[in-house]
């Protein structure tokens, strides 16, 4: 795409009516988008030709995904009389008159054995040429995931970055005195409860392969770390030592975790194999050392410590040695999280009593506050690095929010009737 139309910083409020279909099983998150990129790509998505009685048209799911990224303006197509489903049916001047730069068409056809063939084409309206397209042979239950995959392909083709629409997120809900660990699609749809408890659950962490979660549960009246398979639902105790067991974080190869233990004293960082063997103490301070995360190259543990008198982020080699301070501005910088490319660090910064998401470029040390909320916690990067999801509080109500790494696009995800907290964005699918 060569020319992009300048768009005002549009304020969009998008409520996903489709989410109500999933509400019967579990209350789903409602997503609200505020802001957008300075320049958005105008795209038209023609409703797909349907094979039978699908409950919703996947064009609306694709459109909602692209709109939520803040990088696209999804155009209303109903004014165009000819709604094409094949390339031969496309009359480009009609779409050019809508000022569309890109056009998506597609269809769903029934196959024997209760399967479906989903095909789509992405067209460049300006050049009047096909950009990409694909066919999927799926079961009806895979329609929604297929819509997210198509949105990912469109996103990648037009922005040059990988899309995250087919990924999953995890978070904790608290409703009354009931805590639930949930896993949902990145758009908040299809939430599944993987653990519920009358005692707190905190700090969920995705294994790099996306098949397991480590988390901290207080069901034994103290913090204990578990690892749970999302495919089988089976779980095991990773760490239940005397005192606290908390803050699990997976190594990039998924073989080890950094955890925090107390053993009757202050919190210190340890390393442990994913099967619970070979426990090894990494930090040895009389201060608080907690919230460890691995650098993407696997060589460093970044962690929060108050060894210098205030809570700051430090790093230490996974082989041990001296700790080096990483954050210097202000008196409270905690909860470090690496961008997927390893070049920057998101964290929570307290400034004049306000807790906000900040981003620091590691090479230059340059720091930028991204969020305009004031009770922020638990930042988590989307696997493409474009968005940072976090927990915050609005009117005493726990909600999730997301902000783009450039600070321009903001989303809010809330659940009716409950608090939502502790988000963690899962890895790219397999």
């Amino acid at each position: 795409m060569t020319k992009r139309l300048p768009i005002f910083l549009a304020v969009l409020f998008v409520f996903f009516s489709s989410l109500s279909f999933y509400g019967a099983a579990q209350a789903a998150l409602t997503i609200e988008i505020v802001g957008g990129a300075a320049q958005q790509i105008p795209i038209a998505i023609v409703p797909f030709a349907q094979a039978s009685n699908q409950s919703e048209n996947i064009a609306s799911i694709i459109g909602a995904d692209l709109r939520r990224s803040g990088l696209f303006r999804v155009l209303e197509t109903s004014g165009i009389v000819n709604q094409p489903h094949d390339v031969a049916e496309v009359k480009y001047p009609e779409w050019a008159s809508l000022q569309a730069q890109a056009l998506t068409i597609g269809k769903i056809e029934a196959l024997p054995g209760n399967r479906l063939k989903v095909s789509f084409r992405l067209l460049d309206v300006v050049k009047q040429a096909a950009l990409t397209g694909l066919e999927f042979n799926i079961t009806p239950a895979q329609l929604r995931t297929t819509a997210h995959r198509i949105a990912d392909i469109i996103y990648q083709q037009l922005t040059g970055e990988a899309g995250v629409f087919a990924t999953r997120i995890t978070y904790i809900t608290k409703s009354g005195n009931r805590y639930s660990l949930q896993v949902a699609d990145a758009d908040g749809a299809n939430p599944q409860t993987v653990l519920s408890s009358n005692e707190p659950i905190i700090s969920p962490s995705w294994a790099p392969d996306g098949t397991r979660l480590a988390y901290v549960s207080f069901e034994k009246k103290k913090p204990v770390i578990y690892v749970q398979s999302l495919t089988s639902g089976q779980r095991y105790v990773l760490a239940n030592f005397k005192g606290n067991n908390s803050a699990p974080s997976w190594s990039p190869d998924g073989k080890r975790l950094a955890i925090v233990l107390t053993h009757g004293a202050n919190s210190q960082v340890y390393l442990i194999n994913a099967d619970g063997t070979e426990l090894q103490q990494l930090t040895h301070s009389s201060a608080i050392d907690t919230e460890p995360v691995w650098s993407p190259d696997g060589k460093w543990i970044y962690f929060t410590s108050d060894r210098g008198g205030s809570a700051q982020i430090y790093r230490m080699s996974t082989l041990g040695g001296d700790a080096q301070r990483v954050t210097f501005e202000g008196s409270y910088n905690v909860s470090p999280r690496f961008s997927p490319d390893g070049k920057s660090l998101a964290f929570i910064r307290r400034d004049e009593g306000k807790f906000r998401v900040a981003l620091q470029e590691l090479a230059t040390g340059q720091m930028q506050v991204l969020s305009d909320t004031v009770r922020d916690e638990s930042p988590s990067f989307a696997p493409n690095g474009r968005l940072i999801m976090y927990a915050t509080s609005v009117n005493g109500h726990g909600v999730l929010a997301a902000v783009s790494a450039d600070g321009r696009v903001k989303q809010r995800l809330s659940e009716a009737g409950g608090d939502v907290r502790e988000p963690a964005w899962g890895p790219f699918g397999n």
Binding site: P200, T262, G264, I288, T304
Partner: protein
């Protein structure tokens, strides 16, 4: 030991009060009364209200024995929370008697075990608050250690901000959330 004597004396007094009862009932409660070791923790005031309750000695004996000092609102051992200043883990002087009383109880009951549970207000991140709460439980443990309590009777843990009232907007509310609690095993 002298508590046994007191109980015995009280029994004798109440027996004397039950003027017209047959004398042969007397030895039975007196014998029972010697065996339970828990009598030593009975507070002095308990026999008062119990005495008029019955014409026989048996109910009074039971109520005297079963009062748990850890639950007795008139006993300092029923106080379980040490409160802290913002971002601080110092055990303030006004909480010394409370911690000392529990230390003495633990020394007198080597089989008793306590969880010291640290708590913070909800400001800040959950894991960092978990670590701050832990520091508070450790601060209480150190006081107990200095009084001679062994680590094997104590487990320090933290709930961080998980039990805090999340709707606080001022210090009067926040300060109620910053405490370390003494919880005996089995409670």
């Amino acid at each position: 030991m002298n508590k046994h004597l007191i109980v015995g004396i009280l029994l004798a007094i109440s027996l004397a009060a039950c003027s017209s009862k047959p004398v042969k009932e007397a030895p039975k409660p007196a014998v029972e009364d010697k065996s339970p070791k828990t009598t030593q923790t009975a507070p002095p005031k308990a026999p008062g209200p119990a005495a008029p309750e019955s014409a026989t000695t048996k109910p009074m004996t039971e109520s005297t024995i079963t009062v748990n000092p850890l639950k007795d609102p008139n006993n300092i051992l029923s106080q379980r929370s040490v409160f802290f200043d913002y971002d601080k883990d110092e055990v303030k002087p006004e909480y010394r008697p409370l911690v000392e009383a529990h230390a003495k109880y633990l020394l007198a009951h080597p089989d008793a075990k306590v969880f010291l549970q640290g708590n913070t207000d909800e400001r800040g991140t959950r894991e960092y608050n978990l670590a701050l709460g832990q520091r508070r439980s450790v601060a209480v443990k150190k006081v107990m250690n200095l009084l001679g309590v062994q680590d094997k009777q104590i487990e320090t843990v933290s709930y961080g901000e998980e039990k805090a009232n999340a709707n606080c907007r001022d210090e009067a509310c926040w300060k109620e959330n910053r405490h370390a609690d003494i919880v005996y095993q089995g409670e």
